[in-house]
Every structure is written in structure tokens, then in C-alpha cells.
């Protein structure tokens, strides 16, 4: 039995042991054990050279990480939440993502940036948004989002071996997720995974909404609707082959994404389905997204703003039956 938090810590420990060029830095990752407890105990195990606390300056320490990566180290930079990462957006977009291209292939940035994303813990608008879709917009980055214990444990090492920057998004509501991981060790970060096979509709999701989507699929199964649930795992580059192939079989698709609907990752997925599988669609591609508001603090309002299983079930019913 392990938790998502522990699985991430195992992944970090494994990477730190495998390669001495690997080090972790970020706000409170050392003595405090990480804002979400992920790096608890690592300072004692690996020492202050490899588990480094940084000042409250996202742009500075992400920039330092980029420099370290270019100089031959393998830094893992932790930014507390995706909202704070915007302070380092200049470093991420203008340096990390661009240098390979701007140097004519001479300079890579083998950097991994970890951060928390998503709502559901009553942390209000400045700590709760799902902006990974913004990063998935940027060429030059790889975006991964572990949704299961096995992925939390196994995505870090393949991310570190990528010669270019990888952003790893951990959904805040998953840290306490507990269970037995299905696999141990490095996982595939190139391909989406079919988490539940089905025949009537394809549900495309990732990260924090995977559990809700699986719950919805369970409810739908009781009604005789067989939903296939696809966990994207990597948001850029999108493994569209997997979900397109699925839609060709089920003829219907609902995208579940905690991001805001307008101009979102779900919009990209929906567009690709229409581009590549138009003639196989039996209903419009539907999307279940967050309400387009800054995330509320009050629990009932936060719940109402987020995609929930009932909303997913309703969208699927509409797609399958032609009515809600």
C-alpha cells in the first residue's frame, strides 16, 4: 500500500540514486519536506547539495535550473503550484523551450519542472487552477500528467532522460490517493493509456479528472452504456493515435478536462477528433470542463465549478442517446 505522494517520493529517490547529476530544488523542498510533503526525508538522505531550498523567486530558480541543465546537470525544479509558475513563464517559454531551436540544435535543456495543478482542496483562485493546457501549447516542451500511482512513481526517470525540458503536473487532489501500484519502475511517457475499455463512447481525460471519469464510467455501465476511458498521460506531444483509434470504434467522444473550456486542451482534442475521425462520429464531440470563473473558495461553489461524475454521465447520455 502506498500513496501518490509516496510514489512521487520514490520516483525522486530512485532518480537521485541512479544519477549523481540529478538534484532537486525549490521552495521548502529541503528542511520542510516540500509544501505537499513529497520530498520529506530526502534532505536527510541526500544532503543539502542535492536537495536545495531556494528563495521565493520562481524566475530566478527556474533560470538557475535551466543554466544547470545546460551546464550538464540534471535538475528537478519544483514550483509549488502552476499559478506561481507564471512568474517563471519567461524562463520556461523564452529559454527552456526555445534554446534547442535558437541554438540550431546545439543547446538542449534537460530539465524537469514539477508542479502542482488543479482544484478540489479549497485553496481558492490563486492556488487552484489547471493551466497545464497553456504549457501544452508551447512547442519545445514535453508535458506529462501522472494520474495513477504507477505513473507517479515511474514518470520522473524517463522525463529526466529526455534531452529537452519536461514539465510534470501533479494534481493536488491526488496526493492522498492510496493503493497498490500496478507497476513499479519507469513508465511509457509517449503513449496514452486505455484505463477502462468500452464500446459506446470514448472518454478522454488525464490527471485529476481520471478518477471522476472512471466513476462516471462505472455509473454508466450500470445503465448499459460501455464507456472507454483514456488517460492521456502526456499532454504534449499528444498521443492522438490512441484516442482517434478509440473514437473510430465507439463513434462518440466526451473530453473531460479540469481546465477552462475556451481555448483549452479539450478544445485541441475535440478539434483533432473532428479533423481525423469526422466520418466516424455519431454525435458532436462534447466537453466537460471547469466553469469559466476563478476557482471559488467555498466548498459547494468549488464542487459546482469543477467537472463532476454527474456532469460526465449527463454528457455521455446526451452523446449516446441524443438527449440528456
Amino acid at each position: 500500500m502506498t500513496t501518490y505522494r509516496e510514489a512521487l517520493r520514490e520516483g525522486l529517490r530512485d532518480a537521485l540514486r541512479r544519477d549523481e547529476r540529478v538534484f532537486l530544488m525549490g521552495e521548502d523542498v529541503g528542511a520542510y519536506g516540500g509544501c505537499f510533503g513529497v520530498s520529506l526525508g530526502l534532505l536527510e538522505e541526500f544532503g543539502p547539495d542535492r536537495i536545495r531550498d531556494t528563495p521565493l523567486s520562481e524566475s530566478a530558480f527556474v533560470g538557475a535550473g535551466i543554466g544547470a541543465a545546460m551546464a550538464g546537470l540534471r535538475p528537478i525544479v519544483e514550483i509549488m503550484t502552476v499559478n506561481f509558475s507564471l512568474l517563471a513563464l519567461d524562463q520556461i517559454l523564452n529559454n527552456a523551450a526555445s534554446l534547442r531551436h535558437m541554438s540550431g540544435g546545439q543547446l538542449g535543456v534537460p530539465l524537469v519542472i514539477r508542479m502542482t495543478t488543479g482544484a478540489g482542496r479549497q485553496l481558492a483562485a490563486q492556488h487552484s487552477h489547471s493551466l497545464e493546457g497553456w504549457y501544452a501549447h508551447i512547442p519545445g516542451l514535453r508535458i506529462v500528467a501522472p494520474a495513477t500511482l504507477a505513473d507517479a512513481r515511474g514518470m520522473l526517470w524517463p522525463a529526466l532522460t529526455d534531452p529537452d525540458p519536461v514539465l510534470l503536473f501533479e494534481h493536488g487532489s491526488l496526493y492522498n490517493l492510496a493503493g497498490e501500484p500496478e507497476a513499479d519502475g519507469p513508465v511509457d511517457i509517449d503513449h496514452a493509456a486505455i484505463r477502462r475499455p468500452g464500446t459506446d463512447v470514448t472518454l478522454v481525460t488525464y490527471g485529476g479528472t481520471l478518477g471522476k471519469t472512471l466513476d462516471a464510467a462505472e455509473q454508466l455501465a450500470a445503465d448499459g452504456i460501455s464507456a472507454e476511458v483514456i488517460d492521456l498521460r502526456t499532454l504534449r506531444p499528444l498521443d492522438d493515435a490512441t484516442f482517434i483509434e478509440s473514437v473510430r470504434r465507439t463513434h462518440r467522444a466526451v473530453v473531460v478536462d479540469e481546465g477552462w473550456r475556451s481555448g483549452s486542451l479539450s478544445a485541441e482534442i475535440s478539434a483533432r477528433i473532428t479533423e481525423q475521425a469526422f466520418e466516424d462520429l455519431d454525435a458532436p464531440v462534447d466537453r466537460v470542463c471547469s466553469a469559466e470563473v476563478p476557482m471559488p473558495y467555498a466548498k459547494h461553489l468549488e464542487d459546482a465549478a469543477l467537472p463532476q461524475p454527474a456532469g460526465i454521465v449527463a454528457a455521455v447520455r446526451k452523446a449516446v442517446n441524443g438527449n440528456g
Partner: protein, 418 residues
């Protein structure tokens, strides 16, 4: 935007007449596609376009003689905005062509409807369109149950008979769905409200299909009255020896005679497609059956020409029963090569029917009535029935139709041989 102009088809040509439009507004044409047939006083010539695009307006109606160089039609370079490209969307006063001129040559094949360029846009999901082509289903006839009136693949399958009408696996009766949520599902045994919706959509489907038939098929109608004395005598004698369940009705003789006649006149037995008339190898006789609560289906009696009369009778009974319980099979709904509609039961004397596209002929039968009738110079009272033929003038002429009706009449005079 480009203009498709009257071409010069010879050094001495300065005027020409469009005698046929091979496209209509909204159609997509490629370079080299024939667009119109032009009469040059010497010959009718198919004229191709050198511009690819979408046919916008047709500027010159069929039959009008214009100078070489006159714009005949507008070709837009862009993809069509379906639903807006048809004639109804044009500016008043600009569309000068009569409706039959642009519709007269449209192939009524399923592919045509699937392309969505038909004058009334059919709303179907992309997958439903693909499936309809595979299953040879006429989308115009399929009742829609999807979002915003969309025909879904399930509707196509249900229509084609590959899933029974009563299969509602996906609408379980749960408190959340309620009666309103189920009302769009087609099933005769549903609550009255649901039934009303089904009838409405079926009515709409019939409306679309028949409107298309009337618009696109140049019908010619023939009728003849047949003396049935011999046939009915034979029927009475035969029935006397049959158990009640196997007894024949006059309609069985008519169906068999029609099937045999269609076999002997293959020009009337088949389909009008974009490649012209295509004869069907076999006679699959469509039998128009009115449904309880309204509506009509015309399922096929397969290989009717090869069946003994007794089996035609059994097949007819079986079709009527299954049509009314909604359990027809896909092939029965799509295979008919020629259709018979018998309104004799309703007391009408003759039926001048509308052909069920893409078929090219429809036989109508009226009531059997006793008439004063002259045979061999003597007047007697004989049971007579008026048979009519509605046929597609593109496929045949009245001469062929007349011979076909005469063959039916002739066959009915020797019922024992049917």
C-alpha cells in the same frame, strides 16, 4: 468565383441551348466534370467545367437559347455552406430556372442524399452517413432521434433492421431519464406521447422521400382495366381445397403476375442511379403496407418471380404481420426493385402512384368491381380491376410500360400457370 459560360462548340456556333443541367446549386465540381448538356443545333453535347468549385447560381434555365459567352452558372471557389447553397436560399428574382430543370437529372441514389446537396438538407451524423452508404439505406427515409433532429447510426441500423425497433439498451427505464427523455426513441409500443413523435418523424421521412420522387422523377402514368373472371374462378376453386390458413387472396395473384411481368420486362425492374438505369438481376417485389397508426413501408418479397403462388401468399402474410410489429429486416427494406401498391381494400378504383426512389416503376391496383364487360362480342358482368403503372420516363417510355401492363393482364388470364 468564376462564371461557367456557354462554350463555342464549333466554328459556326454562335448560340446554344442548355437542354439539361447535370448539376444543381451546392454541388461540388472538379475540373473536367460535365456540368450541362448543350444543344448546338447539330447534336447534344455534354459540356465540362474547367474550374473546380461549388455550383452557385444557375443563371440560364433549361430550354433558353443564349449566345456563346453568356454566363450560364456561377462557380464558387470555396467549399459549400451546406443548407444555404440550395435554391431556396437564393436571392428572389435571381433564380430564373424552373425547379424541374435543375432537379430533373439528379440521381436518386443514396450517395446523392448522403452528400447533403439535396434540396432539403438531411441532418445526419457523419457516421450515420457512412453507415447508410454501407447498408444501402436511403437517409431521407430514416426517422431521426439524435440531438437536434440528427439521424444517428442507431437510427440507420434500426431502419435497416440490423437492430430490432424495440432495442433500447441505452435508454434504461430509470427515474433520471423519465418519459420525456425516452420520447424520441422509435418504438410502436411506447406511450402515446412517444408514439406521436415517432409518427411525426416517420411522416417527415415519407414527406422528404416522396417530395424528392415527385420533384426528380419525370413520371408517366398508364392504366388499364383487367378482367379477373378467370382468375377469381380459379381462386375460388383452389381455395376450396386449401385449409383456411393457406387460402389465397386475389392480391397474391396480382403480386405473382407483376413479378413475372417485371422479370420479362427488366427495363422496369431496377434502379435509376447516377450512371443511369441499372437493371436488377432478380425481382424483389416491394409491397406497400400501411401501418396501424399511419405511415407506410414497402418491404420486398425476395425473388418473387420464382415463388409459387402459395409461397407468395405466405410471404405477403408474413410481411404484413412483421411490418406492423416493426420487425422487418434490412434487406427487405432496401432491396425492392419494383413496388406494388394495392388500395383495393380502401374502395378506390385506381391509384396513380409516386415511385419509390431509386426504383423506376410502381404498379397500383384498385378495387375489384363488377362491371358490364364485353367478351367475344357478348356483354356480361365481370369482376374487373384497374391496374396502373407509374414509371420513370428517364428509364423507359410509355411503349415499354404498356407492354408490361399487357403482360400482367395476359398472365392473369391463365392463373393456373402462375
Amino acid at each position: 468565383m468564376a462564371e461557367f459560360r456557354m462554350p463555342s462548340l464549333g466554328a459556326d456556333m454562335d448560340e446554344g441551348t442548355v437542354i439539361e443541367w447535370l448539376v444543381q446549386p451546392g454541388d461540388i465540381v472538379g475540373k473536367g466534370d460535365p456540368v450541362a448538356v448543350v444543344d448546338t443545333d447539330k447534336a447534344a453535347i455534354e459540356v465540362e467545367t474547367f474550374t473546380a468549385g461549388t455550383i452557385g447560381q444557375i443563371l440560364v434555365p433549361v430550354g433558353e437559347r443564349v449566345h456563346v459567352g453568356t454566363p450560364l452558372a456561377i462557380i464558387d471557389g470555396t467549399e459549400p455552406k451546406t443548407g444555404r447553397a440550395h435554391p431556396a436560399g437564393q436571392q428572389p428574382g435571381q433564380a430564373v430556372h424552373p425547379p424541374q430543370s435543375e432537379a430533373g437529372t439528379r440521381p436518386p441514389a443514396g450517395a446523392d442524399a448522403a452528400r447533403g446537396a439535396a434540396p432539403e438538407r438531411i441532418k445526419a451524423s457523419p457516421y450515420a452517413r457512412k453507415l447508410a452508404q454501407t447498408l444501402h439505406v436511403e437517409l431521407a427515409a430514416v426517422p431521426a432521434t439524435g440531438q437536434r433532429g440528427l439521424i444517428t447510426s442507431e437510427d440507420v441500423r434500426r431502419f435497416a433492421g440490423t437492430i430490432p425497433a424495440s432495442d433500447h439498451r441505452r435508454t434504461p427505464v430509470t427515474p433520471q431519464t423519465g418519459p420525456a427523455a425516452q420520447s424520441t426513441k422509435a418504438a410502436p409500443q411506447r406511450a402515446p406521447a412517444a408514439r406521436h413523435v415517432v409518427e411525426k418523424s416517420q411522416r417527415a421521412a415519407i414527406a422528404r422521400l416522396m417530395a424528392r420522387s415527385a420533384r426528380e422523377i419525370p413520371h408517366y402514368h398508364l392504366s388499364g382495366t383487367v378482367d379477373l373472371a378467370t382468375a377469381l374462378d380459379w381462386l375460388t376453386r383452389t381455395n376450396r381445397e386449401l385449409p383456411v390458413t393457406d387460402r389465397l387472396v386475389p392480391a397474391a395473384l396480382l403480386l405473382k403476375a407483376t413479378a413475372l411481368a417485371a422479370h420479362r420486362h427488366p427495363e422496369l425492374n431496377g434502379f435509376w442511379t447516377e450512371h443511369g438505369f441499372q437493371a436488377a438481376g432478380q425481382v424483389h417485389l416491394g409491397v406497400a403496407i400501411s401501418l396501424r397508426g399511419g405511415g407506410l413501408v414497402a418491404p420486398a418479397l425476395h425473388d418473387a418471380a420464382d415463388l409459387p403462388v402459395g409461397e407468395v401468399m405466405a410471404g405477403l402474410r408474413d410481411l404484413v404481420e412483421r411490418a406492423r410489429s416493426g420487425r422487418l429486416r434490412r434487406t427487405e427494406l432496401t432491396d425492392a426493385t419494383i413496388t406494388v401498391t394495392n388500395l383495393g381494400d380502401q374502395g378506390v378504383e385506381s391509384v396513380h402512384g409516386i415511385i419509390y426512389p431509386p426504383q423506376v416503376a410502381l404498379v397500383g391496383a384498385g378495387r375489384i368491381v363488377e362491371r358490364p364487360w364485353a367478351v367475344d362480342g357478348l356483354l356480361g358482368v365481370r369482376p374487373c380491376q384497374t391496374l396502373t403503372l407509374a414509371a420513370d420516363h428517364r428509364a423507359t417510355d410509355g411503349f415499354t410500360g404498356g407492354r408490361f401492363l399487357a403482360t400482367i393482364e395476359h398472365l392473369l388470364q391463365t392463373p393456373e400457370e402462375l
